[in-house]
Subunit: 481 residues, 2 copies
């Protein structure tokens, strides 16, 4: 412990007593590193203390101290989040799960694994691969994000068009409640209907209902090596037509991604990957069905791309070429970030609306006079239009925020949601209210009240705080490039 000054709250001693001094950080130079996630727009305060518990019992001890003293607790994994859901509020305890990083069990005969929340997504993927198994959810940050965070926001990724999202893999959870009690819910069985589905209530609740300390997750047999297809199109909306024809044809590719010319060029600038810089948009798709099934799926995909007006279609089962194309897709956002500050949208629309949505984004960009790179998981309708702007230019900044909002508006108007996989956090609390409406909001609040009557768990996330004055003063709306 450095600099435990008189400003240190009295309950810090209780935390140190419970966890030991090396697990409780209060030096502002150190704790600042835990104050924010990757969200550019999100408010953030400063924690009074950062705790790094090593066990469920230590998490429980933290919650007991917090509830005794009425201190807010912000749970946090690696900080890869994109909506400020793990951002500190002033004076809080930030509870970091990264030391609880054990893969406790891999059980091939039950096709499941048991993990602590600090396990990195990729660590689990690698651990189960040795058993011929597969943990599908693969958010962009899979090589550094933690499963606790994935659970908290119900992460998706590139896999979802065939394999679904995080909640589809959750069998059971251990959760420390606001008052420190330890809840175990769910099961190790494939099926089970004994009681409410509490596990899936906690998944996606962004740390507002409890702190997940263990998860039992279902696994799948490892799929075959993928065959990858790339197709280029003269208009971006044609890629939406591909999505619709894929859906209606009954095809289920293991990946179906889109990026537009802005993204193609930004990626190509970084990677020198010989992408088709003149294409209006690319579709990247995979089949992991193996053998003749993969061949048939890729043949059908090829035909559907051609029918939608593709200039060029190419497929490959060469792993190196496939990996390069995947890397190009995963580079889209980092490459856009080199062009300026970015506002990353996360709208999911019904799949029949993808083409209309892409057209709408083009119109929003034209109205705003800004570049909007359209990239996303088109196969499941979850798109990430990304507004690029100069944060130092007040006018551009205003137009960028307006464009960001216009895209959310467009998504809602098409029957979509303001967040497909990133979460609500502080960033979209107002939009949540708009999307779900007053009845649903009141049900949310009744459940929040039932499980966390003191409002200690991650205040200001998902729901607006009644009083945000000092919070806004510290963090406010800020943008980083």
């Amino acid at each position: 412990m450095r600099r435990v000054t008189t400003l240190t709250p009295p309950w810090v001693g209780e935390l140190i007593g419970a966890l030991g001094p090396d697990s409780v950080l209060t030096d502002p130079d150190v704790t600042a590193a835990y104050a924010r996630d990757q969200a550019m727009l999100a408010e953030a305060g400063m924690p009074a203390a950062v705790v790094l518990p090593r066990s469920t019992a230590e998490v429980s001890a933290v919650m007991q101290v917090a509830s005794r003293h009425g201190v807010p607790v912000v749970p946090r994994g690696a900080g890869s989040g994109l909506v400020g859901a793990a951002n500190a509020v002033d004076g809080c305890i930030t509870l970091v799960t990264t030391r609880m990083d054990a893969v406790l069990e891999v059980a091939p005969a039950d096709r499941l694994a048991v993990v602590q929340p600090g396990v990195v997504n990729k660590t689990l993927r690698d651990a189960v691969r040795a058993h011929g198994l597969f943990y599908p959810p693969d958010p962009a940050s899979y090589d550094w994000c933690t499963l606790g965070g994935n659970l908290a926001v119900n992460s998706g990724g590139l896999c979802c068009v065939k394999y679904g999202v995080t909640t589809d893999y959750v069998l059971g959870l251990e959760v420390v409640l606001a008052d420190g009690r330890v809840l175990r819910t769910g099961r190790r069985t494939v099926k089970g209907v004994a009681g409410y589905d509490l596990a899936r209530l906690f998944v996606g609740s962004e740390g507002t209902l409890g702190v997940i300390t263990e998860a039992t997750v279902a696994l799948r047999p490892a799929p075959a090596a993928p065959v990858t297809l790339v197709a280029s199109f003269p208009t971006s909306a044609q890629t939406g037509q591909v999505v619709e024809s894929v859906v209606t044809s009954g095809l289920v590719p293991s990946m179906l991604e889109v990026m537009d010319r802005t993204c193609i060029r930004a990626v190509d600038d970084v990677m020198k990957a010989d992408l088709d810089r003149d294409a209006a948009a690319l579709v990247l798709a995979q089949s992991d069905s193996g053998g003749a099934a993969a061949t048939a799926e890729i043949a059908l995909l090829t035909r559907l791309c051609e029918e939608a007006g593709a200039d060029f279609v190419h497929s490959t089962d060469d792993p190196a070429e496939g990996d390069l194309l995947m890397a190009a897709r995963r580079m889209a956002l980092p490459a856009l970030e080199r062009l300026g500050s970015v506002l990353l949208d996360d709208v999911a629309v019904p799949r029949s609306q993808v083409a209309t949505f892409i057209d709408g984004c083009v119109a929003v960009a034209a109205d705003a006079g800004l570049v909007i790179g359209v990239v996303g998981h088109a196969g499941d309708g979850n798109m990430h239009p990304t507004v690029v702007f100069d944060a130092a230019d007040a006018d551009q900044r205003t137009r960028a925020f307006a464009a960001f909002d216009a895209i959310l508006e467009l998504g809602l108007s098409l029957g979509g949601t303001v967040t497909g996989e990133h979460g609500v956090g502080t960033l979209k609390a107002d939009w949540l209210e708009r999307e779900i409406g007053p009845v649903s909001l009141s049900v949310h609040q009744a459940i929040k009240q039932a499980l966390d009557p003191g409002g200690l768990l991650n205040p200001g996330k998902m729901f607006r705080r009644a009083h945000v004055g000092d919070l806004a003063a510290v963090g406010g709306l800020s943008a980083q490039s």
Copy 2:
């Protein structure tokens, strides 16, 4: 309205005012038909009124009358349930959803359908098949059970080993809350993380949190026609070994069912299907992967059955022969019911424990000196051991109940659950408490209290009532053959 006597509660007039006289039944001769589901052991009272609303607005009106007067409401579909979850309590309003039976929409480009709760499962299956689509959940009563009931207990069926259960297909719900407000939650998109997963909280909540009045469900592309395999074994536990080797081999059949000699002979007595009456157990499996993939899957299944010690393995792509085998499997329970009164268990165990569980059931049968037919969805570990007994023989009856409980005990001891797909209802409220423990029970109760503070919705289901005196006097534990 016949016989609206002075015993009719005063609020019945309000129901008639809201719904019209043809939608409100109070004649005990008529309402008795709505007092029970198919559960033999479950308590049941007599409703004061049965209402058959035609719209969400009418359901809302019923809940408003009920909450104004503090009248319990028991939601009910076709009454095919197996745990008494739809059984009346004395003086309640039984709310029957069967008149809300419209398939409101089938949207192939979004692979979803929108249905009212009174739609029969098979009706939806048939409606979407015309679009080349598939609604997987297929409980045994699929040709008469309603989707509202399926949602209320999160039904499974034969499909689950490959396709999961009802909750895996729920995108959005409309729910009338205890106070009559109408909640819409969830979405039409594949992905979405805006707010808590309320839809999956209501699914499986057995009508204790709200009345589901509409559901948006995901569909899948119709699979290929199945190839069916049947294998016979000299011991029933060998079929559990097949399950384990299927799981560890990475195979995902579209069906993997087991029935033992008791079931085989009972079915063959009814169907004269030329089943192998001397086999200790049969495995029935299917692949719906089509073409070469199905051939490969069935070849692997054949090898795994042989390695587990099968006496005989046969596969067929003849639809008539496959249908006959499926019919034989579906006949197991009705055929057992011809032998006497039955107590139907519904234990799900981890798949690695299926063989041990089957062995344990054999031991329970021997201890009880009773016949227990073992049948179930072995591929997902959800087994339905069925105790056969003479209900008129008090001693047999006592032993049968003890055997039923011993099987639940065995399931829990193997890391399983007391209900894989039938639900808790009144039948297993005590077992629920045992399975989930006091912390989870208190979280359940907090959520129940938050959403239904008056305790009006389906009282005594899932959770024990504080006062069950008059209820037990009316219904009590009864068995039917």
